[in-house]
Each structure stands twice: as C-alpha cells, then as structure tokens.
C-alpha cells in the first residue's frame, strides 16, 4: 500500500479530491436536512466517484488500523477501545454509529481525511459487519482484526453461519505476519481462527462467579468445530461461550491471554477484575450485563496488543455509558424508557436477562421491521426465550412492519391476546405505550435496528435524547 502515494497521478488525485469533497457535502446536507447522521451516505457518494477512495486514504496514513467484527458487541467494544486510546492521548478516527457495511466504513475515511486524502490520527477503528469483513479487510489492510464472537445472525442475509466463519477465517489467514488477531477464546469457532494467524491473543472469562453448566437453547456452536462431536463445558457464560472441551478429539479452550477472573454484576454497572499481560486490572465498568464484560475483555486485549498505556483503562471504562439503543435509559417526561436494540436470539435473551434483574412488571414495546438491515426472515424470534418474561407483562404494544408476527410470538409465549395491542406505526405505538405507562414507571423497548433508530429519532425530536451523531 505504501507505493500508492507515489503511483497516484494528477487524475487519480483529482478524482480522490472530488470524491472526498462530494462525500463530505453529502454528509453535511444530510445533517442540515435532519435526514439522519449521514453515517453511510458520504461513503456511498464518495465510492461512486472514486471506488478506490478508501484504499487511497488508508494508503496515506501511518495510523494503526483495527477492524472489529463479529456478531455481537462490535459497537461497544469499539467505544471501549477508543476511550482507552483517547485516555492515552491518541487521536482516534472511527465509525461510531453501527453503520458497518462498506459505505459506512468508507464514511470514516471521507469524514476523517482532508481533501488531499490525509488524515490526522494514531488509530483508525473500523467496526465492520461480519459478512463484509473480507471485502473491507482487502481495502483496509488492517494491523489487527478483533473478532468478538460468532452467533447465528440474520441467516437469510448471509446464508449459513459456517460460510461467514469461512470468510472470516480467510481474512485472518490473509493478514500480514506483523498483524495480530484478537480472538474470543471462549467461542469454539472464533478461537479456532488462531491457527490461521501468525500472531494472536485470546480473551475470555475464567471465573466461577457467573455462568451456568449447560448452554441455553439458542446456542449456536455446541459441537466441536474439528470433529462435530458434542462439546462438554466446565462452564458456560453466554450461549456457547465458555470453558469448552471436546471429549472426542480433545479440542479445548486454550490458555487466555486476557482473562476476566472476577465479575460483580449490578443494575447500572459491573465490577470487573482481569488478568492481563499488563498484570492485574480492576475497574468499574459503566455498563450492565455479562455481554459487556466480554466486550471489556476484548477491548483490553486489543489495547494491550496495540501497546496503549494501561493507566487510562479504569477511568475510560467507568466513564462509558450505554451506546445508542444499547439498554439506553431515556427520560420521557415523567416516564422512563429503556431502549434496547436486539437483533438476534442471543442479544434478545441477554437483554431480557438484564431486564429481569430489575424489579416490577415489564411493560413492553416490541418492534420489528423487514428491511435490508434487519432482514426478511424473523424465524429467529422463536429462538428467543420469551417464556420467562411473559407472565410479568401486564400489557404490551407490538409495532413495526412485522407487528403481527411479533404479537403472535408473544401470544405463543404466554401473553394473552387481550394484553397485546398491535400498532404498526412507530410514533403512535410509542404514544400508546407511554400513555399506558404510569408516571415514574419504565417502558421497555425491544426493537431491531431500523425501528430502534426510528424510535430514537422520534424521541430526539421531542428533546428527550440527543441525536446520536453528536455523541
């Protein structure tokens, strides 16, 4: 990539400048017209004009380039890593809003570079959709790929889990020798990618304070990735993540480079103790839920491999607040909204478990819509364990273009139909749900990406929450 600077002639440079200026203009226009955060439009416009825009900008920077991918936890892990880097005085450029397909990734370059394609940054942080990672890695030539985990996610978009895993494996194998793979050592499939990397670091949990003995129903990879025999677990933390061992071929969890050895789960935050190459680290994470402990372990492992100073980690971790729609508390007048972006059985189940820790009845607004981002096939709703929460639901509103399907799923989980109101429009659904929420009480919103975004936008226009691109 280093040769591109010399190789670029005047026409190539002019085309790059035009692509960058047009992309930037598109972003400004989108924001001025309040069309949204402009998180993928600038990249899309710039790529139309110069398909090489991302390669060119990347070729002109000396910053460390990191790709964060996987099924769950990408956005939060990126925020954690960015906070640690910022605490260490590093300049970070990243796509922060879950816009992680190739246009969104290109937007990072468009927004961060000047018109000559130069970027002032020490760390370029790219959150990349797991199905886009092969294409993105070819353009970015990353110094690090971090894989959070692999869950069954939007099967209709990607075909099968194993083909996504195959693409990831090839991307890691294509990394140069100096690059590092940061891998979830508790995920039997993700951990197996270590065999394809020349340098790797595994993160995971090694504590008896949390977890169970048997995987939950929706677990994906409970068979050995090498011989297909059923795996045994000494400990399961989330879904198929845990201390696994194959009784048939002996494939087992490898020693963890970064291991969480202590977890204290609270409603608003989590006490975490880690063993790392830095030595022992302790901090109070400002985010609830065991899934965020995994994200924290991933971010610390990446920080360590990037050589970022450890001193800033505790302050960075305790300063974090829930991201856009990740169990995000929003004050809606005298009612409280807890906005939760759920996109697959695991994130849905994880969110439900966190909600079940809170006392009281669970008034719910559940919304799903069929879109390019959220997919067409909502069969996965039947893999969500709604049966435990169902008796605690006094009433609920089902919304989105898939409102009827959502209502039906909750009905078959045990919520009687007279307690379910079906309102496909998101604004009227929010109004109806808030009207039924008594003052001082909480409305839980569980929604996939598009309805979460739209509901949040509605709450932005009402002044209850800041637009997410300002955060």
């Amino acid at each position: 990539m280093g040769t591109m600077k010399q190789a670029m002639g005047p026409i190539a440079s002019a085309r790059l400048t035009l692509a960058l200026s047009s992309g930037k203009l598109a972003g400004r226009t989108a924001r001025a017209l309040r069309m949204g955060g402009g998180t993928s439009l600038p990249g899309m416009v710039a790529r139309r004009i110069d398909p090489l825009v991302l390669r060119k900008v990347i070729g002109r920077t000396r910053a460390a380039k990191v790709i964060v991918t996987g099924s769950n936890g990408k956005t939060t892990t990126c925020r954690m890593l960015a906070a640690i880097a910022a605490a260490g005085g590093k300049g970070v450029v990243q796509n922060r809003t879950g816009s992680n397909l190739l246009q969104g990734v290109t937007t990072v370059a468009v927004a961060g570079a000047n018109l000559r394609g130069e970027m002032r940054a020490d760390l370029l942080l790219f959150e990349v959709d797991e199905a886009t990672v092969a294409a993105a890695a070819a353009e970015i030539q990353p110094d690090m790929i971090l894989v959070t985990n692999l869950f069954r996610d939007q099967l209709d978009r990607y075909g099968e889990l194993y083909s996504v895993a195959g693409a990831l494996e090839r991307s890691i194998r294509a990394l140069p020798e100096t690059a590092t793979a940061i891998l979830n050592g508790d995920d039997p499939m993700v951990a197996s990618f270590a065999a394809d990397a020349s340098r790797w670091l595994l993160f995971g949990l090694r504590t008896a304070e949390v977890g169970t003995a048997v995987p939950e129903h929706a677990a994906d990879t409970v068979r050995c990735v090498r011989c297909q025999h059923d795996l045994d677990y000494a400990k399961v933390y989330i879904s198929h993540l845990g201390d696994f061992r194959c009784p048939n071929c002996g494939y087992a969890r490898q020693p963890l480079g970064v291991a969480v050895t202590g977890v204290r789960l609270g409603l608003e935050g989590t006490g975490v103790t880690l063993q790392t190459p830095y030595g022992e680290l302790r901090f109070d994470l400002g985010l609830p839920g065991l899934h965020n402990v995994y994200n924290a372990a991933a971010a610390v492992a990446a920080a360590q491999a990037l050589g970022l100073p450890a001193e800033g980690i505790p302050a960075a971790m305790s300063s974090l607040r829930p991201a856009f729609g990740r169990l995000e508390p929003i004050a809606a007048g005298d009612r409280q909204v807890l906005l939760s972006f759920v996109k697959n059985p695991i994130s849905y189940n994880t969110t439900l478990r966190t909600i079940l820790q809170r006392p009281g009845p669970k008034a719910i607004l559940a919304a799903e819509s069929n879109t390019v981002v959220d997919g067409e096939d909502f069969a996965w709703l039947w893999d969500v364990d709604l049966e435990e929460v169902a008796p605690l639901i006094p009433w609920m509103v089902a919304s989105g273009s898939k409102a009827e399907e959502v209502a039906m799923r909750y009905k078959y989980a045990g919520v009687s139909e007279d307690r379910i109101e079906v309102i496909p429009g998101l604004a009227p659904a929010l109004d109806a749900a808030l009207a039924r929420t008594p003052p001082g009480e909480t409305l839980y919103i569980l929604a996939s990406y598009t309805p979460t975004r739209e509901l949040r936008k509605i709450m932005e226009t009402r002044g209850w929450v800041r637009p997410f691109w300002q955060e």
Binding site: A135, E160, L381, A407, R409, K411, Y412, I420
Partner: protein, 261 residues
Amino acid sequence: MNTSIRIGHLYSSLLSVAGDRGNLFALQRRSQWRGIGTEVTEIGVDETPDFTQFDLILFHGGQDKEMDVAARDLGPKAESLRAAVESDVAVLAVCAGYQLLGHYYQPSRGPRFEGIGALDVYTEAGPIRFMNHIAVECEFAQGSRQSLVGFENHSGRTYRGQSVGPLGRVLAGGGNNGEDGTEGAIYRQVYCTYMHGPVLPKNPWFTDHLIRQALRHRYGEASELEPLPAGSEERAHQAALQLAMRSKGKVTAIEATPWRA
C-alpha cells in the same frame, strides 16, 4: 376423558437452525387452548426409542454440518421410523428432515447423505439458493383449498417418485426444485416441507390438521377440534401471503446489494 397426544421431537437440539421449535410451541398451545395435553419426548443422537409409540413426530432442519451428524446417526433409528410412517403416525419434516426421510441428499461437494427411504424422494444440491418468502396452495381434501406461507432457505432440489404427492402447488417461491411448481411432499400422514418461518404458527389450519391426525393415531377415530378465535395468527398469515406474492419471481428476498459487489 383427558385427551393428550404424544410428540416425539427428533434431534431437538441438533436440528434447531431457524426457530423451528416454534412448530412445537404452536402444537402445544393450540392443543392446550382446547384442553388437549401434550407429552413431548426429545430424541437425541444415540437414542433409539420405539417411534410407533408417538402420535406425532417433528423432524426439523439444520445446516450441512448438523445434517451430517443426523445422517450418520439415523441408521439404528431407521427401521422404527419407517414402521411409524407405515402405521400412520403423523410426521412434520422440514428441510433437512424432509431430505433425510427420502433416499439421499447429494450436496454440491463431498459424499452424499444417506436418508432412510421412508419416502420415495431424493434431493440434489442446485446452483442457487432459494432464500425468499414462499406461498403454496394445498388441497388435502377435495375442494378444500388453503394457503400455506413461510420462508424458504435451501439449495437442495427435491424430486418425488410416483407414490408421493406434493404438499401443495407453488404460488410464489422456489419450492421443491424450482421446476415442477410443487412444494413439499405428502405420504400417508407424513408432511414434508422446505418452509421455515417457522411453518406452523402462521398456518394455524395446518397445525390443527396435524393435531387432528395425532388424535386419530392415538384414539383411532376422527374427531373435530373445537374452533379457536381468529387472532394474530391469521393476520400474520395474511401479511406473509402478501409479502410472498410481492416478491414472486425473485430468488432471494434481498437482491444483490451494491456494497457486496
């Protein structure tokens, strides 16, 4: 008399790829709402129950790796499963379950998966994957046409022998092979389909049909089911039917998108 049906859920944890356990939930709830009990037995790898003791057997889909495990495990189960089919136990088989009840499934690469040959059908991998909404018209009894809706996600092409009828006629979607306009298979009380969704919740009439067949197997006589009020099932059915008709003629629900070029 307390009526109940005995359900055998074959490979309940191994083959659970696309929410197919919703089929079990639909059978359980619609039985329960009518005061009919359900006894569910989960059947895993290495287990060889007497399949004729069930009134209804569920055999769902999985990815190729899971299907391989199931195919290699089926040998010791095959004779009892075939006996159950011949004694009119009701069976719902979806995707990989459908393929493994037939003679074989030949994937695009590697050796073929041997089925148990309970049905005269065979399956071979095709070049394109059908991933879309699907709608089918069924006529189980003369003059009673009903629609089935779901989501298909398969590259297998299935071809039926003469003893096996189709589950229905394709209104929109790929179905068995994208060529003969049929979807699924019926043989005795075995109902095979490529439909996920899962298939039963959104097609309550089909759920009820299976409950009736299971009751008939158990008690030896045809019984009418108490009707249930129409609710979100029927509305979800209508919505899915419209979606399927709208995406008719497309192979995938989400056509190739520019960022993946």
